[in-house]
Symmetry: C2
Subunit: 349 residues, 2 copies
C-alpha cells in the first residue's frame, strides 16, 4: 500500500495582506524560513512520499503560481478546482484520481499553509496515523491544545485503539470560550488540524455513503477531466469534517505535539521567526535603535535599509505596491484595511 | 539701486534622513508643498528679484542638483563652494560677484531651507529691511519668538530707527533655557533667522574692516574664478553673524511675524503640512484606520498604497533604498540612525 499525499492549496485569505493577495495566498509565502509554506509542506513529507505521489488541489487561478512553488511535483498532479467548494469535494476528487492510479493507495491529506516546528515528531505521528489508515480507520491528527482557542475545531478522544491511536469520539466545531476552557482542562480534547489519513477505498466508500452526490461527481471529474468545469462547480460546498468525518464509523485520532501552528496572523509569523536580541525580526542590514519586538517583512526583498528608532511591537509589511503598519497585537485588524480597500475598489487585495 | 538675492544653499544635514542625504540635502526636498524649499525660496521673492539677479551659493557636489531645482536661475549665477566655510566667506564672495556686476546693488541674503507660511507678510518685512539697507544699515529680519527655543540665536531690539526698523543692540548665540525664557518674556529679543539686507558696498566695507583676510580672498575669487579652488578653502570658517554683524556699527533689525519655521525635523514637516481629519499627513490613496497624527513621506512618489491600522504619531519615511520609522516626538533621534549607519560604513547617508 503505497502512500500518497493530497495537499490542499486552494486557500485564499487576507490575514497576511499586503504580502498575501487573491493571486498570492498565504501558502505561497515563505512566512517562516526560506521556503513557501506549500513547498515546506511537500518537503516535510518527502521521506514518506516522493513528489510523484503528491497531488495538489488548488484553485484554477493559482495553478501557475502553485506549479512554480513546487516544481518537483509533476504537472499532471496539480488539480485545479474551477470553483472553491471547501474540502470534501476537493478531497473526494483527489482521492478518486489517486485510486484510479493505485487502488491500494494510502492517502494523507495535508493543509499547505500551516507551520510545524518539530518535523521528526510530526513524522512519528504520521507513521501512527498511517497505521490507523492501514487498519481501516479514517484517521486524523489531533493537536494537544496549549490555550482555549475558539477559532479551531476540537476532537474528543475516545477509546484507545492501538499505539497512539484512539477512537475519535466526536468532532466539535469552533466552541465558545467557556467550552474551550473546559475542553483544555479535561485533557480529552485535541485541536482539529485538518490532516487526514486513510485508505483511498475507505474514504471513497465513506463519501459514497454520506455525500453520495459528491462521490458521484468527484468520480466523474477523475474519470473525465473534460467534465470538470461543468461538474465540479455543481458540488455542494462542504467540509470533509462535517460531511464525512463526523458521520463515519471507523474514525480515529492520533494525538500529536509537534510545534504546530496555523499561522493565523502576522503575530504568529513574528512568534515563529528567529529574533535578534531585542526580539525584532528584521531584514538583513536593518538598524534598530531602542526598538523592540518589531517585525519588518520586506516581501519584494528590496534590500533597502530599514531604520527603526524608538518603536516597539510593530508589524511593517512592505511589498511592491502596498505597505502595512500595524501594532502586533492588532495584527488581526489587517482585515479592516483589506475591507476598506475593497470598498474603495482597489485592485491591491 | 537694483535688488539682488544671495540664496545660501550649501547646507547638508541628517535631520530629514532618509529623504535627505549628503547628495540631496534638505533644501532640495519638497518638505512642505510641491516645490523644493530652494525653489520656494526663489519663487517667494520673484516679485522683487527676477531669477537673473538671484545668485545661489552651494557646494560643488550639489551643483547639478541645485541647477535642476531652480532651472530659471542662470548657470553663471550658481556659485560652487569648493569647501564648506560657513556663511561669511560665501556671502562675501557672492556679494563681491554682485558688486562687480552692479556696484549700486542692494542685496538680500536668504537661507534656502526655511519655511514661510505668510509670504505677503514676509514681503512687507523685506520692503522695510531693504529700506534699512538703502539707508546704510546692515539689516536683518528678527522673528518674534513663540517659545524659549535654545537652538536659535537671538537679536536684541535697540532704538527705533524708522518704520519697523530698529537698531540691533546685540546678537546672542544659542542661549540657555533660563536665558531664552527671559528673552521671550522681555519682548525685546527676536530670533535670528539668518536673513540679511544691505548695500553691497556697505557689506564689503564691513567685511574688509572685520574680516580683512576673507574680504581679500572673496574679492580674488570673484575676480578670478580660476583661483577659486585654491583660494576659497584657505578662508576661515566663520559665520556672518559672528564675523561681521556682531561687530559692525550700523546694524538694524526689522521685527517680523510671517509664519517662519526653520523646519528642524520631521516633526516640523508634519506640523506645517495639510492634514486629514485624523491629523495624518499621508500620500494619496492611503488608508488610515484608527490611526492618528502620522506622517508618511514617500520620497520616491511610489504611488504605493499605505495602510496604517491602529498606529499614532509615527513618522514613516520611504525612499528608494531606505525606510525610517520613528515616533514623531523622537524625530530628532533620526541622527542616531544616521550615526549608526555611518559607523557601519553604509553609503545610504
Amino acid at each position: 500500500m503505497a502512500v500518497h499525499a493530497i495537499v490542499l492549496a486552494g486557500g485564499a485569505g487576507t490575514r497576511f495582506w499586503p504580502a498575501s493577495r487573491n493571486a498570492r495566498p498565504k501558502q505561497l509565502l515563505p512566512l517562516v524560513g526560506d521556503e513557501t509554506l506549500l513547498a515546506a509542506t511537500v518537503s516535510r513529507i518527502a521521506k514518506l512520499v516522493p513528489p510523484e505521489r503528491v497531488v495538489i488541489a488548488t484553485g484554477a487561478h493559482l495553478l501557475d503560481a502553485t506549479r512554480s512553488a513546487v516544481p518537483a511535483v509533476p504537472a499532471e498532479n496539480l488539480l485545479a478546482e474551477p470553483a472553491a467548494r471547501n474540502t470534501a469535494p476537493a478531497i473526494a476528487w483527489a482521492t478518486a484520481v489517486i485510486a484510479a492510479r493505485d487502488p491500494e493507495a494510502l492517502c494523507m491529506v495535508l493543509p499547505s499553509d500551516h507551520f510545524i516546528a518539530m518535523p521528526a515528531a510530526f513524522e512519528a505521528c504520521v507513521e501512527h496515523a498511517l497505521e490507523g489508515a492501514r487498519r481501516g480507520f479514517l484517521t486524523t491528527l489531533g493537536i494537544r491544545p496549549t490555550r482555549p482557542e475558539t477559532g479551531f475545531g476540537y476532537i474528543e478522544l475516545g477509546a484507545e485503539q492501538g499505539a497512539s491511536l484512539f477512537e475519535a469520539a466526536r468532532f466539535v466545531e469552533k466552541p465558545s470560550l467557556a467550552v474551550a476552557e473546559d475542553y483544555v482542562a479535561s485533557g480529552k480534547f485535541l485541536w482539529n488540524a485538518g490532516m487526514f489519513f486513510y485508505a483511498a477505498r475507505d474514504m471513497l466508500a465513506a463519501v459514497r455513503e454520506h455525500l453520495p452526490d459528491v462521490a458521484e461527481k468527484a468520480d466523474a471529474c477523475a474519470r473525465s477531466p473534460a467534465s470538470l468545469a461543468t461538474v465540479f462547480p455543481t458540488m455542494p460546498s462542504v467540509s470533509i469534517d462535517k460531511g464525512v468525518m463526523e458521520k463515519a464509523k471507523r474514525v480515529a485520532v492520533v494525538p500529536g505535539d509537534f510545534g504546530w501552528s496555523d499561522l493565523g496572523s502576522w503575530q504568529s509569523a513574528w512568534e515563529l521567526s528567529p529574533k535578534d536580541d531585542a526580539e525584532n525580526v528584521l531584514p538583513d542590514g536593518s538598524v534598530a535603535i531602542d526598538a523592540h519586538g518589531n517585525l519588518v517583512w520586506d516581501h519584494a526583498q528590496s534590500k533597502r535599509t530599514y531604520a527603526l528608532v524608538g518603536v516597539s511591537n510593530l508589524v511593517v509589511v512592505e511589498t511592491e505596491d502596498a505597505v502595512l503598519i500595524v501594532p502586533r497585537e492588532r495584527a488581526q485588524d489587517v482585515r479592516l484595511a483589506v475591507e476598506r480597500l475593497k470598498a474603495l475598489g482597489s485592485k491591491r487585495i
